[in-house]
Assembly symmetry: C2
Homo-oligomer: 150 residues x 2
DNA sequence: TATTGTTATACTCTATAACTATA
DNA sequence: TATAGTTATAGAGTATAACAATA
């Protein structure tokens, strides 16, 4: 177990560090899910992220999509090309700036995104296994962590 | 199931689902960090993951590495090739099964992995901003979620 | 026969640079 | 001059299939 080796090297972890490492380990299931969903829908992980990033009924400039996906504008051209060829999204011209192209989900894209979202948002077994009281306590702690006003 | 869908569409989520979505949103910073670290060390994200997966002083079959990285054995050949060319890992023959090749970190690989690990394990601001009591409470909840006996 | 890792192939992802059309 | 998106290029990731060595 690499955790034990790391602990011996670094000594005892702070509660914040241990909480973060535990959280990250649990959240890893999300990566496995993106892979499974991508293969099921015959997409690539980057295409799943792009589809999930687009909000139903809203338009987003390609540059914003590039920022969210942590990649260059030039990559987004290809990703959008393939999603558009599948009929899942469409390009629209921006009325305010004709250099800009706005991306939006088609009805088919919205339907596929919704099916993906259901799966992605389902809590993993680790969270389901907690008592209802613990689930609420965890939610409240994470709301505070994100700075929400309870 | 349509109950859950209706709930989600109206914005009302179960505590478990909301906790999971919040946790995932916070854990997203890890992805940005992997990208930043990859570019800083002149590696690709998959190479960072491979390096981080290997525990110092331990050997791992290539097939195990493939399973952890969620990719095919054939991909690991190339990833391992490039990390080996950089002197960060090495292939060893398994004494018990001569089909198997075991991967292990070199001293240089261990040093680089340790520098990466320090950065990856640093809690994000969301967790640092919590009170010490909340940090401990979060840690304890996540330990229970993962099934650790406190 | 089945499995581990490699090779070959084809496609996607990714960054960089050069290009266009706008602003 | 600067910016949004495209195109071209090159290298890396990914799955599938075929293969050699080994079990």
């Amino acid at each position: 177990m690499s955790n034990i080796i790391d602990l011996m090297k670094t000594g005892v972890r702070s509660p914040a560090t241990e909480a973060w490492v535990l959280m990250r380990d649990i959240a890893i299931v999300n990566k496995a899910r993106v892979f499974a969903i991508a293969s099921e829908f015959e997409l690539y992980p980057a295409q799943v992220h792009a589809l999930y990033t687009l909000a139903p009924g809203e338009e987003m400039p390609m540059s914003s999509l590039a920022a969210t996906l942590h990649c260059d504008n030039s990559n987004v051209t290809g990703i959008v090309d393939r999603l558009e060829a599948r009929g899942l999204i469409e390009r629209r011209s921006s009325p305010s700036d004709r250099r800009v192209k706005l991306i939006a989900l088609t009805p088919e894209g919205e339907a596929m995104r919704e099916r993906m979202r259901e799966r992605l948002d389902t809590p993993p077994p680790e969270i389901e296994s907690l008592s209802r009281a613990d689930q609420r306590a965890l939610r409240d702690l994470l709301r505070r962590a994100r700075g929400d006003d309870d």
